[in-house]
């Protein structure tokens, strides 16, 4: 075989055009495949970077701090349990405020994840108590980037939101919480004691199974615990049903369908590339048919005849894999940059040894299989043909294999184009969806008031009043509000009591709530349907008021007149009733594809939630986003220059991020579709060019008999189009089946959307016509006299 490889190398190097085309074909297929595989491998396949990751579990849904303690006491199938929530803290260094992300944890989480500090120590359970010492453990990245890797950091003090915390340890590089990467870690009970109550379910909770324990045992224990807590604490824990999942599954289950769809799509591209390679090798093998016959006449058996062809396929696959993996290395960064922020473990995506081995293996297997096809076909030779072949260039067609391969390429291209088309149409429909508000000209910025100076509601209200007054006086600002805007990903829900409606304790409907200050309707362009919006008179001490949306009226008030009805947060004691004073239009708070759920708006001043110190400042203006951002910064920092602004985004950007997943999928499928069409076009070009070469004499005879030059071209184009039409038909039928896989990602367009199917078919047939027209035109220019002499 070494000899065969040596000769194959020599043979390929004497045909640089063919070799470059074949290697490029493999490189495109393998490059795209390996790049997507690197994401699939890093996100879905690799074990989590914790000891014994198979024993890690996630509890759905979030638990409160006391519930984590209950689980620790009751779940004997767990070795450890712990939870985490991310919390913004302000780090003040050299007078400049910086927002840092703190992971507020139940200290059991360190044991669950098997954390071992790189230096210092972790926070222990004795310190993780309300009133415990203010300690932090730093992530390696934060220590390096924010603190310059200072060697004496352990034992030093950091001022976070006005409070001094002692650094007790630094975690090793790369250590993060599942799906979250906090800058530093601290006790939830120490930093946020107000949140450590039973009714606030905000801890993402993880556990480590005892050796030998099963998920089923833990699920049974959680079911029993949920029942006990529901009986003991009906107001806080009724109707909670905790689901137990392997941690990896919990982390990746949302992105898994998208990634698997993309992986399937990129494998279709690989198939198109492989079919193209098979066609290239077939045409080469057909040109070498006289040589194959001679070898057979000299005594070569079937295997000996196939070996040179397989050796060439192997060399092409190795060269293609090397080029493709280089391509993958370059493109994987772009791929990760395009991915939605919700893609877990994205930071671990790279073209490493596993991906290289995968790429090489796929290239070799694919290329050998698809090299074997033409090798097998063209070595079924008529031995006596060696004696009959008078012309060295004699090439005969080899059955229908080239046409079958082209039809398959076209079919696969159509499937990919239809997939891309459906997702592009989905994006278009999402872009046109009525969000219930006008995002144009709106800028948002997140502001979190530091607890040290804004602990009381009165100081918070004063700050908000100053901000709104500042915006009212600022040039270029038409209207401003303070709240959590739609699509920001920030929301609170409350269990709701409705006056006159009797509901069992714990069965109260959970409803989205928004605390607001300022001209919410004016800034967001939301219509007032009934009653009034809040006025400056709706202040603390005044009659508590609320505004609801139309979905609320439909869902809870049977569509009846809402103004004057009273509602309250079910858990608050004593119950504080709020009078509904207005009804506003529905807004899609969670993205264009989400529904219009019930929502309640209340004034900040009356909300009575001083712990809720985060908010977005939202301004509408006619100037550019950059100008608007400068004005917003100027207004806010002129009031308190120590408060950092984060997430400074236009509402259009927020709307864009809400469809980032669909955009990622559509973009990649579009690239794959384009690649497939490009490869198919190259294949059609090659096969038509081959047909021109093979039929030169025939064309010459036809012309000599009076055929017009164009008729030869028409004949060849018609043949190419017939094959493409068959392939397109098969592709459309396959698209209908494949569309079901995509249906969960579609919005406002059916998987059998005739427009998309039609456009995909037309695009492919148009490109096929162009690809066949070039060599066919050459046929039209054949000199009949010269053709007949050949």
């Amino acid at each position: 075989m070494l000899q065969d490889l040596r000769l194959a190398f020599r043979s390929l190097s004497r045909q640089p055009g063919f070799t470059a085309l074949a290697v490029m074909t493999v490189a495109l297929g393998i490059g795209a495949n390996a790049a997507v595989f690197s994401v699939v491998d890093a996100v879905l396949l690799r074990p989590l970077p914790y000891p014994h990751p198979d024993r890690l579990v996630a509890l759905r849904s979030n638990q409160s701090v006391p519930e984590v303690e209950d689980i620790r006491a009751a779940a004997t199938s767990l070795d450890q349990v712990g939870g985490i929530t991310l919390f913004g803290l302000d780090l003040t260094t050299d007078g400049e405020p910086h927002r840092v992300t703190a992971g507020l944890v139940d200290a059991g989480l360190f044991d669950v994840l098997g954390a071992v500090p790189a230096s210092g120590r972790l926070i222990n359970r004795d310190e993780d108590v309300i009133g415990g010492p203010p300690l932090v453990v730093l992530s390696h990245g934060f220590w390096q980037q924010r603190l310059g890797g200072a060697p004496g950091v352990v034992g030093s003090t950091l001022t976070l939101s006005g409070r001094a915390y002692t650094v007790v340890g630094v975690l090793p590089a790369g250590f993060t919480a599942p799906g979250q990467a906090p800058d530093l870690w601290a006790s939830v009970r120490v930093v946020y004691p107000a949140g450590a109550i039973r009714g606030v379910h905000f801890l993402r909770t993880y556990g480590r199974l005892r050796d030998g324990a099963t998920l089923g045992e833990l699920a049974s224990e959680m079911t029993a615990l949920d029942a006990r807590l529901a009986a003991d604490y009906p107001a806080e824990s009724r109707n909670r049903r905790t689901v137990v999942l392997p941690l990896l599954e919990r982390m990746v289950s949302r992105v898994q369908p998208t990634l698997l769809t993309l992986f399937a799509a990129v494998n279709l591209v690989l198939l198109v590339a492989a079919a193209n390679l098979a066609n290239l090798l077939l045409s080469r093998a057909l040109r070498r048919l006289p040589e194959t016959r001679v070898r057979a006449a000299l005594g070569a058996g079937r295997w000996a005849l196939m070996r040179p062809l397989l050796a060439e396929g192997l060399l092409v696959s190795i060269a293609g894999a090397v080029a493709g993996l280089t391509l993958a290395r370059w493109s994987v960064h772009a791929l990760v940059a395009m991915a939605p922020a919700s893609l877990p473990r994205a930071e671990t995506v790279s073209v490493d040894g596993r991906v290289l081995a995968y790429g090489l293996a796929v290239a070799m297997v694919t290329s050998l299989v698809f090299a074997a096809l033409p090798a097998w076909t063209t070595t079924r030779v008529d031995l006596a043909g060696a004696l009959r072949a008078r012309s060295r260039g004699t090439v005969s067609g080899r059955g229908r294999l080239p046409s079958v391969l082209i039809a398959a390429e076209v079919a696969l291209s159509v499937v990919l184009l239809v997939g891309a088309g459906l997702l592009i149409r989905t994006l278009h429909q999402l872009g046109r969806a009525d969000l219930g508000f006008r995002p144009e000209g709106v800028l948002t910025a997140r502001v979190e008031l530091p607890e040290s100076r804004y602990q009381k509601l009165a100081t918070q209200t004063a700050y908000r009043d100053q901000v709104l007054a500042g915006f009212a006086a600022a040039p270029g600002i038409e209207a401003a509000l303070i709240s959590e805007p739609p699509l920001s990903g920030q929301w609170l829900t409350h269990d709701l009591a409705i006056e006159g409606v009797s509901v069992a304790e714990g069965d109260e409907p959970e409803t989205l709530t928004r605390s607001v200050a300022g001209d919410y309707l004016g800034v967001m362009g939301i219509p007032l349907v009934q009653g009034r919006w809040f006025t400056r008179d709706d202040r603390a001490g005044g009659e508590p008021v609320a505004v609801v949306n139309q979905a609320f009226v439909r869902a809870y008030l049977s569509g009846q007149h809402a103004a004057g009805r009273r509602i309250a947060w079910a858990r608050r004691q004593p119950m504080q009733w709020m009078t509904i004073v207005g009804v506003v239009g529905d807004v899609r708070h969670f993205g264009p594809a989400s529904g219009d759920g019930p929502a309640v708006y209340t004034p900040y001043a009356q909300a009575g939630v001083p712990w809720k110190r985060w908010q977005y400042v939202v301004a509408r203006g006619g100037s550019s986003p950059a100008e608007l951002a400068r004005t917003v910064r100027h207004v806010l920092w002129s009031i308190d220059h120590s408060i950092p602004l984060t997430d400074v985004l236009t509402a259009d950007q927020l709307a864009g991020s809400a469809v980032a997943g669909q955009r990622f999928q559509a973009a990649l499928l579009g690239v794959f579709g384009a690649l497939a069409v490009l490869l198919a076009a190259a294949g059609i070009f090659g096969v038509t060019a081959q047909a021109v070469t093979a039929r030169t004499a025939e064309v010459g005879v036809r012309m000599a008999l009076g055929a017009r030059p164009s008729s030869a071209a028409v004949l060849l184009i018609r043949r190419a189009l017939t094959v493409c039409a068959v392939g397109a038909g098969i592709g459309l039928a396959a698209s209908l089946a494949a569309g079901r896989l995509l249906s969960s990602a579609l919005y406002g367009v059916a998987a059998w959307d005739p427009l998309t199917l039609g456009i995909a078919a037309v695009v492919v047939v148009a490109i096929a016509t162009a690809a066949s027209a070039v060599p066919a035109w050459r046929a039209a220019r054949i000199d009949p006299a010269a053709a007949l002499r050949e």
């Binding site: 000769l7 040589e291 001679v294 006449a297 000299l298 005594g299 031995l383 006596a384 004696l387």
Partner: protein, 229 residues
């Protein structure tokens, strides 16, 4: 050595049966130099393919040495072909991508001869045909006569008992043709049985016997013409 009895070859086409060879009875002794002549389409190359066991789809009986070829399956027939026959083609049919030495090595590699033995046999053959200086050249770097010389060397390197030559000098000018024919005659004198197809009476005269074919029929099979050179 070779006995054909009522050998027939027919192609089935839409228009009906087309006979290529009809009731061929022929006997060839070991050491003969037989020329097959006839007009185009007479069935010369087909007969050569049947004799060389490249074609297995025919009727009648074919005995080669002690083997009843007509009873052999494809695999065993090709094994006989590999063991006893060497081919020389009109168009030389050297492999373009292989050097002269590699072309000579090719039939040996198909016979599972050990690498060290093959190297020795190739060296001997290069020497015997006086083409040592050309061993690393590719066919495109040789003249037509030199290419056919290599082709003959390739045909004999496996030490076949029979060489089948299909218009071996049909593409060469006279001087080169004579050189190749002299070479074949020498091989024949050394004991190799040679069957050649040709249109040229001058080259036919190199044979000890001429067989004429016309429309698939053997014409006057007992006629012996020409003289040994």
């Amino acid at each position: 050595m070779i006995t054909l009895s009522n050998v027939e070859k027919v192609y089935q086409t839409r228009a009906g049966k087309t006979w290529v060879l009809r009731r061929i009875n022929l006997e060839i002794q070991a050491g003969e130099f037989v020329t097959i002549m006839g007009p185009s389409g007479a069935g010369k190359s087909t007969l050569l393919a049947i004799l060389g066991m490249l074609d297995g789809a025919w009727g009648g009986e074919y005995r080669f040495l002690e083997h009843q070829v007509h009873r052999l399956d494809n695999r065993r027939r090709l094994a006989l072909h590999k063991q006893f026959f060497g081919f020389v083609f009109q168009q030389y049919h050297l492999i373009d991508d292989l050097t002269v030495a590699e072309n000579l090595d090719l039939p040996l590699s198909y016979r599972d001869v050990k690498r060290s033995e093959r190297q020795a046999m190739v060296a001997d053959t290069l020497d015997r045909f006086q083409i040592v200086a050309k061993k690393d050249l590719f066919p495109s770097q040789l003249s037509g006569g030199q290419q056919q010389l290599v082709a003959v060397a390739r045909a004999v390197i496996g030490q076949p008992q029979v060489i089948l030559a299909d218009e071996p000098v049909g593409s060469l000018h006279t001087d080169q043709g004579r050189m190749i024919m002299d070479l074949l005659a020498r091989l024949n004198r050394e004991g190799t049985t040679i069957l050649q197809v040709t249109h040229n009476p001058e080259w036919a005269a190199y044979g000890s016997r001429t067989i004429n074919l016309k429309d698939g029929w053997l014409v006057d099979p007992d006629v012996v013409t020409g003289t040994r050179h």
